[in-house]
Amino acid sequence: MPERKVIVESPVGLHARPAATFVQTAAKAPIDVTVAKPGGAPVSAKSILSILALDVKNGEAIVIHAEGDGADQLLDELAAIVTHP
């Protein structure tokens, strides 16, 4: 079950430009990717509206989960977007 728990470092949280970059990256992958707040219900990482509605703020943790070919590499890429704004 490849997943990453990361702290969102972007000053605006997972909104605006970081959210758009995150979704654009996830959408390019042929496999399913989800994002959740720890203990919360996962939403599709390919859906900008679902991500915005999660309302992840700067300093909050998220869990990114993917399964299938290239999952690890994709998770690294997505984690980098939110940890290196």
């Binding site: 605006a16 979704v23 390919k46 859906s47 915005l52």
Partner: protein, 556 residues
């Protein structure tokens, strides 16, 4: 022709077919059903969403810059797979594509609105995309600006939002007409910056039918529908005559007996520079720096800022360039200056210098970039802070400017407390600049964006003249940079009150120059004294005009 009347806020005459912006996509009726082919209906919905997404991306590419990213993010919403699945689910249950799109979008609209804050501000974007998809589905025209037509159009709207205006150019728009807004609304300021005639607060404007020929006089406030050729010719000629008088007014601003009043331009970014130079501005009296900061989630780097400041300063060698540091707050939230709490009255909240004191790094970065830009040019840099209320705030700001190597530090006078006790604030700073728009808003406790309250925005209100007089007699040079400075009669009164410079949208400069040049300082002072002695704005205006006979020559 049928005549409507509003407030003329940007001079000149314009004529062209009406183009109605926004508000044209009705809500698809609740309970709307399709005719039993869910697969075809889903395909129709998806094609419409894709068409909208492609068009948004394409417009972004054309506009470039920040607009490209903003519109790319909007395209991402139009293509959202979860949203699309929800639309498909509703269609499977029998709902028509139009209604399904509406309901699916509204779910997220409500969700974001409830979260509020930054996300709450985004619901307008969401609604815009929703309307575009519904428009694409039902074959009605897309909201937003039309492509450049054969001849310039008259843009008619309830009101214009900053987002509507990214692609507006003088070549494609003959005039603006809005139903709401006042002399200081976004539309008015934009129109003056572009030099496009504009009439605001025009009752009945939104009932104008798309494509109707409209004649607009931005001085008299006339909005004529289906005018005859003679009517068009006469109005255009009158506007040209006024323009001709103005063309002969040149040189620095002064009264007929040589009392100098510097005439400066308000600029919102490098795109306003050409007009400022063209209309003979003697410098910049208000450089609004917000354009560098809006719609981004991190502050621009000092290098990026320095380049933008240098561009403006190098257009005015040896001239004053008055820069206002970032004026942000809950009414225009920025990701890197988050409001520290919810504010029921954002205009009275942590804005201007108040929020800069909470996040001083943003301001210090700006001051350093300004100081460096000034070193590279010969412009005389002056920097001022918005929303200063007390001597303590003024001292703090001036100290920060001096530490950054800024030669001249001043404050905006836009809070009545600061105007009334201007003499207490003056020793801390090198100059004042009165912002009449906010000053009126705070003096009358009347929101400047509410059209129904626009009478309170009248800068001829005698109390406004009192507040300006108090600031202008406090012992430091005192400019006026609100829209009040662009009224030629009022400009004479302000000079009579002791104001040392007037800053305005560049197209107004020739009018003010011509009005000042036709009167002596003694006439201006007499006009000011009698205007202050009046008890209403109307009476003040009449009392002043009795001392200013030269205005009639300008057909004002």
């Amino acid at each position: 022709m049928e005549r409507l009347t509003g407030a003329g806020v940007s001079p000149g005459a314009g004529y062209g077919p009406a183009y109605l912006l926004g508000g044209t996509v009705p809500e698809p009726p609740a309970g709307g059903r399709h005719d039993g082919d869910p697969v075809g209906e889903i395909a129709r919905a998806e094609a419409a969403a894709e068409r909208v997404a492609a068009e948004l991306s394409e417009r972004g590419e054309m506009a470039g810059g920040d607009a490209r990213e903003v519109l790319a993010a909007q395209a991402l919403i139009a293509r959202d797979p979860v949203l699309s699945a929800e639309v498909a689910e509703l269609i499977d249950a029998g709902t028509s594509a139009e209604r399904a799109v509406y309901e699916a979008f509204m779910r997220y609209h409500d969700m974001l609105a409830e979260i509020g804050g930054y996300l709450g501000q985004r619901v307008t974007d969401l609604d815009d995309i929703r309307d575009r998809v519904i428009a694409a589905l039902s074959g009605i025209p897309m909201p937003g600006l039309p492509d450049k037509g054969e001849r310039p159009y008259v843009l008619v709207a309830r009101d214009l939002a900053p987002a509507d205006t990214v692609l507006i150019s003088k070549e494609s728009v003959a005039a603006f007409v809005t139903e709401q807004g006042g002399p200081t609304s976004h539309t008015a300021i934009l129109a003056r910056a572009l030099g496009v005639p504009a009439v605001v607060a025009c009752a009945g404007a939104s009932s104008i039918i798309n494509g109707t020929d409209v004649l607009v006089d931005g001085t008299t406030g006339l909005v004529g529908l289906e005018p005859t050729e003679e009517e068009v010719a006469r109005t255009m000629e009158e506007a040209a005559t006024r323009g001709g008088v103005l063309a002969t007014a040149t040189g620095p601003g002064m009264t007929s007996d040589g009392h100098a009043v510097a005439l400066l331009a308000n600029v919102g970014g490098p795109r306003d520079l050409a007009a400022a130079v063209e209309f003979g501005a003697e410098g910049v009296g208000l450089y609004r720096t917000e354009f560098l900061f809006l719609d981004r989630e991190t502050a621009p780097t000092e290098e990026e800022q320095e380049a933008a400041y240098r561009e403006v300063m190098s257009a005015f060698p040896d001239r004053p360039v008055v820069v206002r540091v970032l004026d942000a707050g809950a009414d225009k939230p920025l990701a890197f200056l988050p409001p520290t709490g919810t504010e029921p009255n954002p205009a009275l909240g942590e804005r201007g210098i108040r929020i800069l004191r909470i996040f001083p790094d943003v301001m210090l970065g700006q001051l350093h970039a300004l100081a460096r830009a000034a070193e590279a040019t010969s412009a005389r840099l002056q920097v001022m802070a918005p929303m200063v209320a007390s001597a303590e705030e003024a001292t703090w700001f001036a100290g920060a400017c001096r530490a950054a190597g800024i030669p001249s530090a001043g404050i905006m006078i836009e809070i009545p407390a600061a105007a009334l006790r201007a003499a207490d604030l003056a020793p801390a700073v090198d100059f004042f600049s009165v912002g009449t728009n906010d000053l009126a808003q705070y003096a009358f406790a009347a929101d400047r964006e509410v059209a129904a309250l626009s009478d309170y925005q009248d800068p001829w209100q005698p109390v406004m003249l009192d507040l300006v007089a108090s600031a202008a007699s406090a012992g430091v040079p005192c400019g006026v940079c609100g829209e009040a400075g662009s009224d030629p009669a009022l400009a004479c009164v302000l000079a009579g009150l002791g104001v040392t410079s007037l800053s305005m949208g560049a197209p107004a400069i020739p009018w003010v120059r011509a009005a000042l040049a036709r009167h002596t300082l003694a006439q201006c002072r007499a006009a000011a004294a009698d205007a202050r002695a009046a008890t209403t704005a109307e009476a003040a205006r009449a009392a002043a005009r009795a001392h200013l006979p030269g205005l009639a020559e300008l057909s004002l």
